[in-house]
Symmetry: C2
């Protein structure tokens, strides 16, 4: 891994340039540094920013990625910005774990975290029907979220969904504000095709990005995947404990 | 399928005997009728009662099962008691779907729905640690429930767990009354071994039955399975809608 790209959120320009200089001194070739990603294949893209920045990069590149975040780790980032020296050591020794994450295909589009179907703030509540292999469910609600294991710690969690370990072969479906006494998530195997039909056009949001209005969408696991480089001591439960404080010993 | 057994909850004795007579008239051989299950292999065991009665039968027999319940269907029952004529037609034509459910192995014991680890009412809250392949979680709580997809509509649901379609290859872990602002379920692939350690002895309850006190238990998917016969028009989402009223159109 000698040819690198650096993608950063705009506010991290000077940090990105500093990283680039250090990498140059260590005889790595930095093909680009910027807050836009050019269509150039590199061996590894460094992403400086939070999970939102990382998702943008994941949609754009096909090569491996490694994420750096200020403060505490995000779920998709592998190092904090302050940990660059440790990353440099790992890079020189190619001492990484490869964390592979699959995309969900929504119609012709791809999403790594989730598909969110959501009404506009002034729009009436919608009737949503979900069809899978062996049945169907119906909700009168503001919308619906279908999340991958990767997305289960994102907006799906905020809507009450469970935490899925990254290697679970399932999607989680959760209605948004259903007109019912309770909201409960439904876990569906990821080898099933899911069809969602809505009685009106609502917003299709993939990984936080607007994909227009739809009344129907077909969902299935994609063969497209990304490789995230992780330090050898990475484990998923650690990031849950650090970021959410959940499942953690406080004493 | 000519040799049948009938297992019933005590209050359904007269219904069971009536079913037995009808089956006899139709040239089926009923090997036993009773509220105990003898160690006799039959082609099919009819179970008259709710999900609790069905679980007892599932622990005892290795042959296929079919459940009958008064009123509305249970999750494990396939026909209501009033639907016996429909069942008889299906039996004569061997017109069934085979619904296969796996057991979870807890130490040396088996459980179809769930493993519940729970303190006694006067006992102090416990410290629970859960270890799986890539990490661990810790809870200070009353206990912990580890459920199969089959058990996800049972007590796990009451404790806030998600609904899992029967063909999901995962377990769901939910703390019972954790001392934290929120309780959230964790989905773990069913090919992982899970170890649970508690700082004190607490009750081990498998499918609602008492298995004494433990401080540690190893959990993994078992190769043991049961076959539940279902009518051809059975689907899981229908029973969720009928029993829980969830995901159902009310208008």
């Amino acid at each position: 891994m000698k040819v690198l790209g650096i993608f950063h959120k705009p506010s991290l320009k000077s940090v990105a340039e500093k990283f680039s200089e250090i990498l140059f001194d260590e005889n790595f070739h930095v093909e680009y540094v910027g807050s836009e990603i050019p269509s150039i294949e590199v061996d590894l893209t460094l992403v400086l920013g939070g999970d939102g920045t990382f998702l943008k990069a994941a949609h754009k590149v096909r090569n491996p990625l490694v994420g750096f975040k200020g403060g505490r780790l995000g779920f998709l980032s592998s190092y904090t910005l302050g940990d660059f020296d440790k990353f440099l050591e790992d890079l020189k020794n190619e001492n990484f774990e490869r964390d592979i994450r699959y995309f969900l295909k929504a119609g012709d589009f791809y999403t790594l975290n989730e598909v969110l179907l959501i009404r506009d703030p002034v729009q009436k509540m919608v009737d949503i029907q979900i069809f899978f292999q062996d049945g169907d469910f119906y909700f009168h609600a503001d919308g619906l979220i279908i999340s991958t294991p990767t997305g289960s710690t994102g907006y799906s969690l905020s809507l009450g969904g469970p935490i899925m370990l990254p290697n679970v072969n399932s999607f989680v479906i959760t209605p948004v504000a259903p007109q019912f006494l309770a909201s409960r998530s439904i876990i569906v195997p990821d080898d099933e095709e899911i069809i969602v039909r809505i009685d009106q056009e609502i917003n299709l949001i993939l990984d936080g990005m607007d994909f227009g209005k739809v009344r129907e969408v077909n969902l299935k696991k994609s063969r497209r995947r990304i490789v995230i480089l992780r330090p050898k001591d990475y484990n998923f439960s650690k990031s849950i404990k650090e970021k959410l404080g959940y499942g953690k010993r406080f004493l």
